[in-house]
C-alpha cells in the first residue's frame, strides 16, 4: 500500500461510504459553481484573485476532510500495532501537506507571471477548449 495513488486514496478509504459521498457532493457543490464562475469571468481582470480564492477554499476542504482522518488513522494504526498503515498514513499526510502547498504555489507563480506579462497577453491566446472568438 505505498504507491502514489494508494497514498492519495488512503485517507478517503477510511471514511465510511456515506461520508465519502457527502464529501464528494460538497466538493461538487463548491467546485461546480466555482468552475462555472471562473469560465464566465475567465478573461476579466477579477478571474485571477477569484481562482486563487477558489483554490484556497479547496485547500481548506482538503485539509478538513483528509488530513485529520490521516492523522487519526496513523494514531489508530499505532494503537492496534497494525502493519503498514501507520507509516502510510503519515506519508499520506505529508503528501497532502506538500500538495496543498505546491498547488497554490504553482497558481501564485502563474498569477505573478500574468501580472508581469499582463493578464490579456497571458490568457488571450488560442485555447483548445474555449477558442478565442
Amino acid at each position: 500500500m505505498t504507491s502514489f495513488l494508494q497514498l492519495l486514496m488512503l485517507p478517503w478509504m477510511a471514511w465510511s461510504q456515506r461520508t465519502r459521498r457527502i464529501i464528494v457532493w460538497t466538493l461538487l457543490v463548491v467546485l461546480c459553481p466555482a468552475i462555472a464562475g471562473y469560465v464566465l469571468l475567465w478573461r476579466s481582470a477579477g478571474a485571477g484573485p477569484g481562482l486563487a480564492h477558489g483554490l484556497a477554499v479547496l485547500d481548506c476542504l482538503f485539509w478538513a476532510a483528509v488530513v485529520p482522518r490521516a492523522l487519526v488513522l496513523a494514531n489508530e494504526a499505532r494503537r492496534l500495532r497494525l502493519p503498514v498503515l501507520e507509516r502510510a498514513a503519515a506519508i499520506s499526510t505529508v503528501l497532502y501537506a506538500a500538495l496543498t502547498i505546491a498547488l497554490p504555489a504553482a497558481v501564485v507563480a502563474i498569477l505573478l507571471a500574468i501580472g508581469r506579462r499582463g493578464w490579456r497577453a497571458f490568457w488571450c491566446q488560442p485555447h483548445p477548449v474555449l477558442p478565442h472568438g
Binding site: 478509504m13 465510511s16 461520508t19 489508530e76 494503537r79 492496534l80 500495532r81 497494525l82 502493519p83 503498514v84
Partner: protein
C-alpha cells in the same frame, strides 16, 4: 529507551520478551523491573488484580509506551521500532477496543485486512455470522461485548503468530467467553500461535493457558505451568504456638486474629514442603489456582 542497546538475534528470538521493564505513572511505580519471555507456541495467562500493571506490561512489551528503563522485543526486534513484517505477524486486542469506530464492522475488517498478507476473509464472514454480529452496523453503535468480538475477529483473521489479548473476556457474556477461549485454544493447538492474555478470571486461565504469570504491584511474583502451580504451591497453616518459628520462605503470609499464621509455600527441589509443615498442629492445604491467586493477592 534502551531497546537499541539490547538488540536480540531475530532467529532464535522469543516471540515476545520483556527485560527489566520499569514504568511509573505520576510518581508511582507500575512496573518494577519485569522480566518475561514467551516461548513459541505457548499460551501464557497473565493474571493479577485490577491495577497490578497487566495492561501497562502488555503495552510496554508491544512498544506502545516507552518504559523508564528496560526493553521489550517482539520477534527479536525492539518493540519501540517494530518493522511492518513483524507487525504483520502480531495481533493485539486492547482492553477497550475503540479504534476505527466511525466505520461499520465490515468496513473496518475490509480496510484493516488490506494490510495483512495472510488475511482470512472467509473466517471473517463465517465468524461474523456465527457470533451474530451485524456487519453493517457502525462500530460505535455496537455493544462493548460486540465490539470486543469484532476486534477479536480482526485479530484472529490476520492469522498471527503472536496473539496478545488484554482482558479479552472482560465485556463478554459466558457463552461468548467460552467461544473465544475455544478459538484461542484451537489457534494455539493447530497453528502453534503464541498467545499472551491478561485476565483476572482464573477459570479462563485453567481452560486455555499452558503457563501463568502472576503480576502483583508491578512485580512478577510467580511464573510456572498451570498444573505445576497447583502441585507446587500450597497453603501452610500454623497454629499460634508454632507460628513464631524460624522464618519460612513464602509467597505470602497472613497472621490471623487468633495468632495463627497462613503462608503460601512451595515445595523444594526434592518435592518436599518446608520443615515447618511437620510442626505439631501444622496443616498443608492444597490450593486451586483461584485460591492461590487470592492468597497471594490479598
Amino acid at each position: 529507551m534502551n531497546a537499541m542497546l539490547h538488540e536480540a538475534n531475530p532467529v532464535d528470538a522469543a516471540p515476545l520478551e520483556a527485560r527489566g521493564l520499569t514504568h511509573c505513572y505520576e510518581g508511582g511505580n507500575v512496573l518494577c523491573g519485569v522480566d518475561l519471555a514467551l516461548q513459541p507456541g505457548s499460551v501464557l495467562g497473565l493474571i493479577g488484580r485490577n491495577g497490578a500493571g497487566k495492561s501497562t506490561l502488555i503495552r510496554g512489551m508491544l512498544g506502545l509506551l516507552e518504559p523508564l528503563s528496560g526493553a521489550a522485543f517482539v520477534f527479536g526486534e525492539p518493540a519501540l521500532k517494530l518493522s511492518d513484517p513483524a507487525k504483520a505477524r502480531l495481533a493485539y486486542v486492547p482492553q477497550q477496543p475503540e479504534a476505527l469506530a466511525w466505520l461499520t464492522a465490515q468496513q473496518m475488517l475490509d480496510y484493516v485486512g488490506r494490510f495483512y498478507p495472510r488475511w482470512d476473509a472467509a473466517f471473517v464472514r463465517t465468524t461474523l455470522e456465527r457470533w451474530k454480529i451485524q456487519p453493517n452496523k457502525l462500530l460505535a453503535k455496537l455493544s462493548p461485548g460486540e465490539r470486543q468480538r469484532v476486534d477479536l475477529i480482526r485479530a484472529l483473521a490476520s492469522q498471527p503468530e503472536l496473539l496478545v489479548l488484554d482482558e479479552p473476556a472482560a465485556a463478554l457474556d459466558p457463552v461468548a467467553r467460552r467461544e473465544l477461549l475455544r478459538e484461542v485454544a484451537l489457534r494455539a493447538g493447530e497453528n502453534g500461535t503464541t498467545v499472551l492474555f491478561s485476565t483476572h478470571i482464573v477459570s479462563d486461565l485453567e481452560r486455555v493457558a499452558s503457563e501463568i504469570a502472576f503480576l502483583h504491584e508491578g512485580r512478577l511474583l510467580l511464573r510456572c505451568g498451570v498444573d505445576e502451580a497447583k502441585e507446587r504451591y500450597a497453603r501452610l497453616w500454623l497454629p499460634a504456638a508454632a507460628s513464631f518459628t524460624a522464618p519460612i520462605p513464602s509467597l505470602s503470609r497472613r497472621r490471623h486474629d487468633d495468632g495463627s499464621l497462613s503462608l503460601v509455600v512451595a515445595r523444594d527441589a526434592r518435592g518436599h514442603w518446608p520443615e515447618a509443615a511437620s510442626l505439631p498442629g501444622a496443616r498443608v492445604d492444597a490450593l486451586g489456582l483461584e485460591d492461590l491467586f487470592v492468597e497471594i493477592a490479598e
